[in-house]
């Protein structure tokens, strides 16, 4: 005897969320809207999972594995199965944000919309590794050309390497500020908002 009552909007404590009936075909697209003026490559949904135990200001977020956010999940999802320890692989997937980037500050379990660069893993490795190598070789080449003795070239390359590492740090800071490396906070996600657009009308 069918006793199904119609869908009662399930009231949850903070925002009134209506359990939206997803229409059968996935009518919406993979990217959330409305798009903020400064266009990040890909938008995705992340969930606050832990508060930093050292400084309470920082919270750890985890990209949500929703179906239509393939883009951002791929960027920060480390797919290398069977590599490294479990903890470090999980560690590699979470990213920190300062809690008071939104008012009121973020709490555990809240879902936020983040913007992240599409190919940030490749760009991250380029900044971390290519820049120091380039400066090292540049310094070595100049030293070899001017002086030519191995010892001098060696010290020149070591100096170049050090400079390169510092430069990489600077570039990395600037990139992560622009959301290139780590995802950047855009806004709080509405309760039923997945990565698809909200329904019309």
């Amino acid at each position: 005897m069918k006793t199904s009552l119609s869908m009662i909007p399930i009231v949850s404590p903070p925002p009134a969320s209506r359990a939206s009936t997803a229409t059968a075909p996935l009518s919406s697209t993979a990217l959330a809207s409305p798009v903020s003026p400064q266009r990040p490559r890909v938008e995705g949904i992340a969930r606050v999972v832990a508060v930093d135990c050292v400084d309470g200001e920082r919270v750890w977020l985890e990209p949500e594995q929703t179906t239509s956010c393939g883009g951002c999940a791929a960027a920060s999802r480390c797919g290398a199965k069977g590599v490294g320890t479990l903890a470090s692989r999980l560690e590699a997937r979470r990213f920190p944000l300062s809690a008071n980037v939104a008012s009121p500050p973020l709490r555990i379990g809240e879902r936020v919309v983040i913007g992240v660069e599409e190919r940030s893993l490749v760009r991250a490795s380029l900044t971390a590794y290519a820049i120091p190598l380039l400066t090292a070789f540049a310094a070595g080449g100049v030293a070899e050309g001017l002086v030519g003795s191995d010892a001098v070239t060696m010290f020149a390359m070591l100096g170049g390497l050090g400079a390169g590492l510092l430069l990489a740090g600077g570039v990395a800071r600037r990139l992560s500020a622009r959301g290139e490396l780590a995802p950047r906070y855009l806004r709080r996600a509405r309760a039923d908002e997945s990565c698809s657009t909200d329904s019309t009308g």
Binding site: A80, V83, R89, T127, L133, G140, M154, A172
Partner: protein, 193 residues
């Protein structure tokens, strides 16, 4: 300058670290399930190979040759490589936590990668100048990364194929690796001087 370029091409393509010298096969088979993780691993290994071969050349030149301790070469190289990797991991983690976020897990893997030690041992016999040997190391590491990325692309496509049960998993991976090695033999014979 011309023979330097030829030497680098030779190190990268002709006697490629993975496909011709068969070094670093464990990471070659392990990490190449996806292109961007393979690229991350490739670049991390390139950095470590270059840094450690610089250190190895110095240790070889000023310590082992000077005091005739050639027989200690392998042990010292391993020591140098391990500390180079550890040092790199710490600096990267300090310099930019978000960078380490993405790439942290590859660095500990590289210490056990035999391509690093292989390249270091190769460049020592070459009796090249310091810059030339570092360029040789960088070129072989670049060849390593190139083959890692190509093989990751192939395996991503292979993951979509309905490989018969007998060949599924590692066997078909090895077959593809051997076909790739056969293709790279096309470069053999380029006179690398």
């Amino acid at each position: 300058m011309k023979e330097l370029a030829l030497m680098m091409v030779g190190a990268a393509l002709v006697n490629n670290v993975i496909l011709a010298r068969f070094l670093g096969l464990c990471s070659f088979m392990g990490v190449t399930t996806r292109i961007d993780t393979a690229a991350g691993m490739g670049m991390a290994t390139t950095f470590v190979i270059t840094v450690s071969s610089m250190a190895d050349w110095a240790v070889q030149h000023y310590l082992l040759d000077a005091y005739g301790l050639g027989f200690l070469r392998t042990v010292t190289f391993i020591l140098v490589i391990a500390s180079a990797v550890q040092f790199t991991e710490m600096t990267i983690r300090k310099v930019s936590p978000s960078l380490f976020q993405m790439l942290g897990i590859y660095l500990p893997l590289i210490t056990t990668n035999c391509a690093v030690l292989g390249v270091a041992l190769l460049l020592v016999e070459g009796k090249l100048s310091f810059l030339a040997s570092t360029l040789f190391a960088f070129a072989s590491a670049a060849g390593y990364s190139l083959v890692m990325i190509i093989f990751a692309g192939l395996r991503e496509r292979l993951a979509l194929a309905q490989v018969p049960r007998l060949f599924a998993g590692p066997p078909i991976g090895f077959i593809v690796a051997s076909l790739l090695a056969m293709a790279f033999m096309g470069f053999s014979g380029i006179s690398t001087g």
